[in-house]
Amino acid sequence: MTQVFLGMPAPGHGNLFEEEPFPQAAHRELGNTQMRKNLRHATHTIRDKRLKVVGELPDWEQLRDAGAAIKNNAMANLEELLLQFEKNFIARGGIVHWARDASEANKIVTQLVKDTGSTEVVKVKSMATQEIGLNEHLETEGISAFETDLAELIVQLGHDKPSHILVPAIHKNRTQVRDIFLQEMPEVDPNLTDDPSKLADAARTHLRKKFLAAKVAISGANFALADTGTLGVVESEGNGRMCLTLPETLITVMGIEKVLPQWEDLEVFMQLLPRSSTGERMNPYTSLWTGASADDGPRNVHIVLLDNGRTRALSDRFGRTALNCIRCSACMNVCPVYERTGGHAYGSTYPGPIGAILSPLMTGIEAEDNGSLPYASSLCGACYDACPVKINIPEILVHLRGEDVDTKRETHKIPTQMDLLMKGGSWALGKGKNIGLLEKALPLGRLMAGKDKKIKKLPGIAAGWTQSRDIPAPPNKSFRDWWSDQKESK
């Protein structure tokens, strides 16, 4: 347990950790060919759509510049903006709660639900509640939470985990979805086909009664506007509108980084977000609400402002721009590593390139469990180019790798294999004579290789290299030896 000082940025908890080191998880996930096929199809489809609709806007780069600057401003003035938002939200009849971490947020939400006397809630897709493990917590308190987003429903009914932040069930194909529905929806027609429109129909019927009877809904928010106290949810299916409009009580759980300075900022993000995420000119539905309105929608409107490691990320001056993320998922869809390993390999609620920086920034890299995430990248830079708010993910990855090596050195007083390698490297490269000595050992490498002249297993941490590739056996002579032989023979 890390020691926490009052008032100092503290690490986040909840579903922010790798469940096992990335290389190990990736190795297993790589064996899942169905998942890989589904994922490849998905990421390529969205990629192409995104390029097309982004290309339509002559001012895309100007919008990105504005988006990045608005977010940087919001982070630099976060305290003031949160206070302003709170004041305006309260003035409009809303109630504001603050939660230091996952468990505090879970407690607040549970109490709010219990106060209504309800034991059921409907939910609209929210990464923040997934991050804090809200559904599981509510379950232990005797409250059933029903996910209403089609993909989330598939994941929930399949007792599965989301693998993509935008299309969380993308690792399942239509037949797999049909099988889950047949098994988990008691009322469903046993002759249900795997036609996506029939499957969507089944979900509509399954959830309709829940929506119409729901007393309490729980949502996330895509943004909060400080100068008006307005919250917004961007969605496609109408399940969001159902949750935000019909119940008497609405509880929104939102990370503190989601606040935007002024309502005009919406015009930037509502152009950047849909085009970057689903590759649509606009998503089918966006709802905006400001506190509770007298005659329209829920009468009890709450918001839980969540830290859970966000201030920890904010305190990293090289990494804080990761908080600018608007969760569009464009970086995932262009990432060659994500495309092959899938979202599950990252463990955390936040997968892909952004997850590889955000999770360790929120938990602290010294949280041993997240140390391998910053290495889940080839640093190709595609994510940076795609990011609508211009987060320089590769740069932050490199920064975090440096931090990881530093902390490991501090914590393991005995030198690690990496340290020994680095020391060895500087000895070898420091003097020509030394490297010459080392090269004398080259033929040894040939002994390690098999008949096919390939080394299949290296010892120690170098084993990572040979986990997914063979290295050719070294030549029997080094270049330096060969060079001097050439000179002598002349």
């Binding site: 409009r92 309709r208 509502m270």
Partner: protein, 210 residues
């Protein structure tokens, strides 16, 4: 220390390097000149792409087109501020139900209604987005959500090209619903399917001279 005080204090210490953010460059398009006919054409194109039904008509034709679009409905709900004239040609067999302050329909009543007619506040041609803001001719959010068929009237004078042009025509603190086509999902193999929880049919009448 309360959670609020503690989080705010964490923010202060996280920002102890006092970062100064650059001023926001707003060099994106905020105004445009586009002839009305082109605006209509662009909006129609976007709406059709979203699989909405679209007709461009003049104001005198509204009753006729409303009746035609709703011919299969059993009952129609409308916000109390909607122009009554628009519903004047609906066949007598179709029950017309107003939703008015003091006489709100319950969710169950809305669920039993087959269609809804509303007006709209502003529409964005470039993205095919229609915005409803709860004015008396647009009604509460629930009425345009629960019935399975939404017929929406868009005055041509309310069409703008760009999102920033629409923003200045909105009161952001009203309950707002932005609609870009009927409800849809791409959650299964990214195949777009129209019609999940929101109205499965969206019909739009773009009306000149309104």
């Amino acid at each position: 220390m309360s959670a609020k005080e503690e989080i705010l204090s964490r923010i202060r210490s996280a920002l102890s390097d006092a970062p100064v953010a650059e001023e926001t460059p707003r060099e994106y398009r905020t105004s445009s000149q586009m002839p009305e006919e082109e605006l209509i054409e662009l909006l129609v194109d976007r709406l059709i792409d979203y699989k909405a039904g679209v007709e461009v008509i003049n104001s005198a034709q509204i009753p006729e087109f409303v009746a035609a679009k709703l011919k299969d409905a059993n009952s129609v709900v409308y916000p109390h501020g909607l122009e009554q004239r628009w519903l004047s040609e609906l066949p007598t067999g179709i029950t017309q139900i107003p939703d008015a302050p003091g006489a709100r329909l319950s969710v169950a009543q809305l669920d039993a209604t087959s269609a809804v007619v509303t007006s709209s506040q502003v529409s964005i041609a470039e993205s095919g987005t229609i915005i409803l803001d709860g004015e008396p001719n647009q009604g509460r959010r629930a009425i345009s959500l629960v019935p399975d068929h939404h017929l929406c009237i868009v005055p041509v004078s309310s069409i703008v090209r760009l999102l920033p042009e629409a923003m200045v025509r909105l009161t952001i603190t009203r309950p707002l619903t932005w609609i870009s086509g009927p409800s849809a999902t791409s959650d299964i193999e990214l195949e777009r399917v129209e019609g999940v929880h929101g109205p499965r049919t969206l019909d739009v009448l773009l009306v000149r001279g309104l």
